[in-house]
Symmetry: C2
DNA sequence: TTTTATTTTTAGATTTGTCTAAATTTATTT
DNA sequence: AAATAAATTTAGACAAATCTAAAAATAAAA
């Protein structure tokens, strides 16, 4: 069962959008791939044909278990190559993405497993994104600051970068500490402030200032999501 | 000026046939690429279009200076990747060719130059073939045994693998020693014996036995051939 | 030098991935 | 609920790389 480079790109983009936005639309996918909605529809049909995608016309789509597996393998290759480029070939982390976009389509499974060993099984790439293992399992989750989190995605607080007493006071007041599960309910573009929903509590609002200093991680390992 | 993977494969195959056979034909190229003569003709026209090939219909073809340069760069990439796979990823030399066939089409020039540095500028790949530098110059020539040399290709004797007195006697008798320039004029399939032409001397015949123990190299660096 | 064989090229199809423009379906407003 | 807007899909076209079958050019043989 052969999957072309273009198909791999579609699978990968769907996977990412699924992670970040929960829902994936034809238009969003077209935008992400810098292609046209009509082209996306064409490809969706082909991916369905290969049982990599669950798709009904006009009714939306999502990756099948097999499609997800394929997408994760492409992501694994991409991130391992990025790590290689930065750690072994002295590239800067900003310049590796484009090269890895090509390298990720090299097909040899053995190659990528050998590369993984050669690099000592790294678990995050140079941008901080987790690298799945050869079975497609993620052992780490990405840590990002609350200000960058999308809406309605539940995460767990994993760090506080500015530990001033004043900061901690605000957090304590809002019942936010390490391990707290929360999600963003609303973003106010005017000042960047956020309305948060902490589990079992009424909504609270925090400033952009505070949001920048709270680090969060995916609530559960990605591989456990079904 | 973009060159697709398929075009790069054609350029590379033409280059190799040019080296080995002197002349390249549509049929030979089709065989080398495991494709059809008609497909080759189609591609020749495209390569001519891009001025990578000098071609007149029915009259044969050869690489232009620019085409040769492009071919050499692909060969450089192929061989550096092979070296990487064997030396860093512990692959056996027999299994790297196919993987390198894919890796050679990764486009980043910077990548390949960094890889070259990382590998400490090797000058021959795991099969003994020379690796051109980033300007496309070869610093080494391949050493092969006389028994494997094609007809009518002048080479220079670069080594004798079995140094018995009896062997050396035969060679001395035929005026063959290190540095001698010679070419094969005829091969006798019956016993594998060869008729050689040594510069400024009448033709001589040697046995397969002897031919197997004489090592030769291209007479001149490949990069000097025009 | 004709005839025959071989090589090479053309003509026309096919596949993959993309596009534009138009049609259809679903979603949103009024 | 009808009208309008937005999203999605179809229809038809195109470029790249390949193929088969037939034609044309060149080479070899009688």
């Amino acid at each position: 069962m052969k999957v072309s480079a273009s198909k791999e790109n579609h699978l990968k983009a769907i996977f990412h959008l699924q992670q970040e936005q929960g829902i994936v639309t034809t238009n969003a996918l077209a935008a992400a791939l810098r292609t046209r909605p009509a082209s996306v529809t064409d490809m969706l049909k082909k991916l369905k044909e290969q049982k990599l995608l669950i798709y009904e016309r006009y009714k939306g789509f999502k990756l099948s278990a097999e499609g997800k597996k394929a997408a994760v393998q492409v992501i694994r290759k991409h991130r391992l190559w990025e790590y290689f480029l930065v750690k072994k070939l002295q590239f800067g982390w900003e310049e590796v993405h484009e090269i890895a976009e090509e390298l990720e389509h090299i097909s040899s499974k053995k190659l990528i497993d050998r590369l993984d060993s050669f690099l000592d099984h790294p678990d995050t790439d140079p941008h901080g994104d987790p690298i799945p293992d050869s079975q497609g399992r993620f052992h780490t989750r990405r840590q990002i600051c609350l200000a960058e989190l999308p809406l309605n995605k539940e995460v767990q607080v994993s760090g506080i970068s500015s530990q001033t007493a004043e900061m901690l006071e605000v957090l304590q007041y809002n019942h936010i500490r390490l391990g707290t599960r929360l999600e963003i309910r609303k973003k106010f573009p005017f000042d960047g402030s956020l309305e948060l929903k902490v589990r079992n509590r009424p909504p609270v609002t925090i400033s952009a200032q505070v949001a920048k200093n709270v680090l969060v991680k995916d609530d559960e390992p990605i591989s456990e999501k079904r």
